[in-house]
């Protein structure tokens, strides 16, 4: 069949990202870019929840068109051994361009990431329009955007090794139980005077120990005391991890797979809590960690995936360092605290849509504290499904003015997108709507966010965090 023969040049096209080539071939034969777009959809399978006729996950416009005519095309395209795609006719012509654009973007990204000296601005621009799922592109891009990897490629190896080693050392120092510590201390000593087995009878030797070396010690400097103080935090972390994304096999359930992931996340969060005694652990940090850890663990590069824990820890710290003031209760009312950020959101809304602002603030008295607290502190991870979260985070991390700025813009856009419903609702209805934000087209949301005029006083020029 002609289809089979045409497949070959398509593959060759993908191996050598030649933007012009894919453009030309695309217009020659509609069938071709069906396969061209396959790249975009093959990945992320464990995330997908298959729906028969419907709309794919999230609001990505590409997915919508594809699931039409699914059944019809199955038999015809089964010999191709790829996920069957419908023929694009009529409304499909829009997604033809979208598919080309996706392929384009992917090769753009690959090209950019393969440079010896990466141009962060360009990367930010590409990333803000969404990164492809699957492969290691998103993981690498996020690491660069967060400043974990330096822009020059040849320094990567060194940086990664150094950081991973540092993490392993930290773990060894801080996460070991006091029993193991005492075992290490005693280690060489007492086993010298013990003969190999238990033949020696008689009274057991007593060793005197200091005030702080025993489990019931209440001294501040005692390892045991510190350990028990942290068990409370550890329990809280465990409870929260059990509840992270219960619908995703990656995080929840009893398989050794998900247990291992929860273990890793537990270590990361516990370590963070120990290193930051002021904020320690706050409920919700597990949600902020989840996307990062997921993206790094599903990196197709095996070495990266194996070290996902160490990388996630560093990136989690970097991401949180921006918004850490929001978690500190004492700073609530200060200029850097959460209340001030919430009022900035209000100001932003006022600057862009005074009518809606007035309606929310005065008519229905729905203050940002009631709905936006979770939006801001948890970086929108609780408002959308997982796939959308990753898309939104692409935009957040690639914003040239910093994560917080883009975050506020997106929050404002969220309000604007449901404007008509808000204007017609009262306090209860509006609150209900905002606390359970409805599914909308993410690309549209992000476009609205980008087009917002920002409050100039909040500009923070930071290209890397």
């Amino acid at each position: 069949m002609l289809k089979g023969k045409l497949k070959l040049p398509d593959k060759a096209k993908r191996a050598f990202p030649d933007r012009l080539g894919s453009l030309v071939a695309g217009f020659e034969d509609k069938e071709d870019e069906n396969r061209g777009s396959d790249l975009v959809f093959e990945s992320g399978e464990e995330l997908e929840t298959i729906q028969p006729n419907g709309y794919g996950s999230g609001g990505e416009s590409e997915n919508d068109e594809d699931d039409e005519d699914y059944d019809e095309k199955v038999d015809r395209e089964s010999d191709l051994r790829v996920r069957p795609k419908p023929e694009r006719e009529g409304p499909g012509s829009v997604s033809v361009l979208a598919a080309i654009a996706a392929d384009d973007k992917r090769s753009d990204l690959e090209y950019e990431l393969s440079q010896p000296e990466i141009n962060l601005e360009k990367l930010q621009r590409i990333a803000s329009s969404g990164l492809p799922d699957g492969g290691g592109l998103r993981a690498t891009a996020w690491k660069l955007l967060l400043g974990y990897l330096p822009p020059s490629r040849d320094l990567w190896e060194k940086e990664l090794i150094e950081n991973r080693l540092k993490y392993a050392k930290l773990k060894e120092e801080l996460l070991v139980s006091p029993s193991q510590l005492t075992r290490k201390k005693v280690g060489a000593l007492s086993y010298c005077d013990h003969p190999a087995d238990g033949v020696v009878a008689g009274p057991l030797k007593r060793h005197e120990i200091s005030e702080e070396d025993h489990p019931l010690s209440l001294g501040k400097a005692s390892v045991w005391h510190q350990y028990f103080q942290h068990t409370e935090i550890a329990e809280q972390i465990d409870r929260d991890l059990q509840r992270t994304h219960p619908d995703l096999k990656f995080f929840s359930g009893d398989s050794s797979f998900s247990r291992k992931h929860r273990e890793s996340m537990r270590s990361i969060l516990l370590l963070f809590a120990k290193l930051n005694p002021v904020i320690r652990y706050v409920q919700g940090m597990n949600e902020v960690l989840a996307p990062i850890y997921y993206v790094f663990s599903t990196d197709t590069n095996e070495q990266n995936a194996a070290n996902a824990e160490a990388d996630s820890f560093s990136c989690f710290v970097r991401l949180l360092s921006d918004s850490v003031d929001h978690f500190c209760e004492q700073l609530d009312n200060s200029a850097v605290g959460i209340l001030s950020t919430l009022s900035r959101l209000s100001e932003l809304l006022k600057a862009n849509d005074e009518e809606l602002w007035r309606h929310l603030e005065f008519t229905t008295k729905v203050k940002p504290q009631y709905y936006a607290f979770r939006w801001i502190t948890l970086l929108l991870t609780q408002e959308f499904n997982f796939q959308c979260i990753m898309r939104i985070w692409d935009s957040l991390l690639s914003s040239p003015y910093g994560v917080q700025d883009m975050l506020l813009k997106i929050c404002c856009a969220m309000l604007l997108c449901v404007k008509s419903r808000l204007l017609s609702g009262d306090f209860v209805a509006n609150l209900k709507l905002l606390q359970n934000y409805p599914d909308i087209n993410i690309e549209h949301l992000l476009q609205v966010a980008r087009d917002l005029s920002s409050d100039p006083s909040t500009y923070r020029l930071s290209l890397t965090l």
């Binding site: 139980s177 006091p178 029993s179 193991q180 005492t182 075992r183 005693v186 007492s190 086993y191 013990h194 190999a196 087995d197 238990g198 020696v200 009878a201 008689g202 009274p203 057991l204 030797k205 007593r206 060793h207 005197e208 120990i209 005030e211 070396d213 025993h214 489990p215 019931l216 010690s217 209440l218 028990f228 068990t231």
Partner: protein, 190 residues
């Protein structure tokens, strides 16, 4: 890392009013996973107090206990170790190592915890360990009035046990440590 508290012979309220304050301040709930009690509490209030420290409580019957339904002996497995519990007044001569070793073989345990003598001892004997936590309240015994309050905390970690001995001497808490490892070629048949 499992923490097991071993204590007994409190004789509250007959011979002592309460645990020493310094001991009480150290024994807080949440740290200990198991409590094994050699007996002679003697009243329910003490039982309830121990229950607040840790829900997993094992008691063997002492001759003065008002609760008659505690068992005479008890065995339990914690980690890699089998522990045996008995008050000790049944084993004659009281506190005699060989007789206790008989009991240990009978119960087939690695660590035997008994009381009654109100004196702390810890012996390694014939492949097993015999521990007497003494009297936690310092109550006088049938043998002597000179009793220092003491109890024992065991940290069981794999094949290794660290025994922390807490004694109240002249009003001050003294803590000692005893280390031992279970040999894997454990009880050879006698």
């Amino acid at each position: 890392m499992v923490l097991v508290l071993a204590l007994g012979d409190l004789h509250i309220p007959h011979r002592a009013p309460d645990l020493p304050a310094k001991f009480k301040s150290m024994l807080v709930p949440g740290k200990i996973q198991h409590i094994i009690c050699t007996g002679n509490l003697c009243i329910k209030e003490v039982h309830d107090y121990l229950k607040t420290l840790c829900p997993d409580l094992h008691i063997a019957r002492g001759e003065y206990d008002e609760e008659t339904r505690y068992p005479e002996t008890k065995t339990l497995t914690i980690g890699q170790f089998k522990l045996g519990l008995c008050h000790g007044h049944q084993v004659i001569p009281w506190g005699d190592l060989d007789s206790l070793a008989m009991l240990q073989r009978q119960l087939d345990v690695d660590i035997l915890v008994t009381g009654h003598t109100h004196q702390f001892t810890a012996y390694k004997h014939e492949g097993g360990v015999v521990i007497n936590p003494g009297s936690a309240s310092g109550a006088f015994s049938s043998i002597t009035y000179d009793v220092n309050p003491s109890f024992v905390l065991m940290d069981i970690d794999g094949l290794r046990v660290v025994v922390y001995v807490y004694e109240l001497i002249d009003g001050e808490v003294k803590v000692d440590k005893i280390d031992f490892k279970k040999t894997t070629a454990a009880h050879s048949a006698h």
